[in-house]
């Protein structure tokens, strides 16, 4: 969360000083594309809005922006919004994540080869 008391929030970056623009580029991996697809599908079905996605991203704070990748932040925000809209419960998520993590050491194993 923001600790500033002037009201300006961390994500509201317009006009701030910053370094040179870096042109590094990566292609998106399958799990990142899946996160993107889940956002489009769930918002299209009315579970939450892109505004809800942004709100949770903003509330995750500046440390998350600096330390997590784009789609890592997205899945965290999508999950937050889906819990708030009642798509599943926190308990169901906890059980499922433990089950997934117990399946193997790699994404492929944990995703059952899909």
């Amino acid at each position: 969360m923001d600790n500033r008391t002037d009201g300006r929030r961390w994500h509201d970056m317009g006009g701030q000083d910053a370094g040179p623009i870096c042109d590094d580029q990566h292609d998106f991996s399958l799990w990142e594309k899946r996160v993107d697809a889940l956002m489009i599908l769930c918002s299209g079905k009315g579970y939450f809005t892109v505004d809800g996605l942004r709100r949770a991203l903003e509330d995750m704070g500046e440390d998350a922006f600096e330390s997590m990748s784009y789609y890592e932040r997205w899945i965290a925000s999508i999950n937050q919004n889906l819990i708030e809209s009642g798509a599943y419960t926190i308990e169901e998520l906890g059980v499922k994540m433990a089950e997934v993590q117990a399946r193997g050491e790699t994404y492929g194993d944990a995703s059952l080869g899909q």
Partner: protein, 213 residues
């Protein structure tokens, strides 16, 4: 069955980053869990997710380039594009979804450049997913205040008498720049003109390529 995207090349011609054989991350395990819960609860299906990924993979700067080239050769289309960007793009048969698009025309004395200072809004249904730099702190912070310095880092140096209009994509609209048609392109076909239209020229951080460049 979901498609195996690992057999495919990305639109940029590079293989997708491998993630099957790297250690499972916490956030990847959350993606798998969320996806499986949504399928179990009949909120979505694996097919739907796979189809959505294919749809996004099919979207890229070539769609926007085709729209720009049409605007260059067809003044009536250009006026419709400037009036209602979404409807005009739809005319070309592109499914731009619920996107509300504003087209901005570069002229001899005006250059447009697009940024989203609050997040990273981008006309993804017309140009595909945004480049990483578009989402960076540096681009989001600096572009509204020092667009000329930002442009020079992209190799674009504009004369002082060119007015710059910076468009901050703060809410519901998405933006595409119609770059100026390069000189020497008079005899090119619409299809060949589209090849001159780069992604960056439609964000405003670049210019259209010169023919024979």
């Amino acid at each position: 069955m979901p498609h195996d995207h690992h057999d495919h090349l990305s639109p940029s011609g590079h293989p997708y980053r491998q993630d099957d054989d790297t250690p499972l991350s916490y956030w990847q395990s959350m993606e798998i869990a969320v996806r499986e819960l949504l399928v179990e609860k009949n909120i979505t299906t694996l097919e739907e997710i796979s189809t959505q990924i294919d749809k996004m993979d099919a979207r890229g700067p070539a769609l926007g380039a085709a729209v720009v080239a049409r605007a260059w050769v067809d003044p009536a289309f250009k006026s419709r594009l400037l009036k209602d960007g979404s409807a005009a793009s739809g005319e070309m048969g592109f499914d731009v979804g619920p996107m509300h698009l504003i087209a901005l025309e570069n002229t001899a004395d005006t250059h447009n450049i697009v940024v989203c200072t609050l997040c990273s809004c981008y006309p993804r249904n017309l140009l595909g997913l945004p480049p990483d730099w578009y989402k960076s702190r540096a681009y989001r912070s600096r572009t509204v205040k020092e667009p000329r310095k930002v442009l020079s880092e992209f190799g674009v140096n504009l004369p002082n008498d060119t007015q710059i209009r910076v468009h901050d994509s703060t809410a519901d609209m998405r933006y595409v720049v119609i770059p100026a048609r390069p000189s020497g392109s008079e005899d090119l076909s619409e299809e060949d003109l589209a090849k001159l239209v780069t992604r960056d020229s439609m964000i405003g951080t670049g210019l259209a390529m010169m023919p024979n460049a």
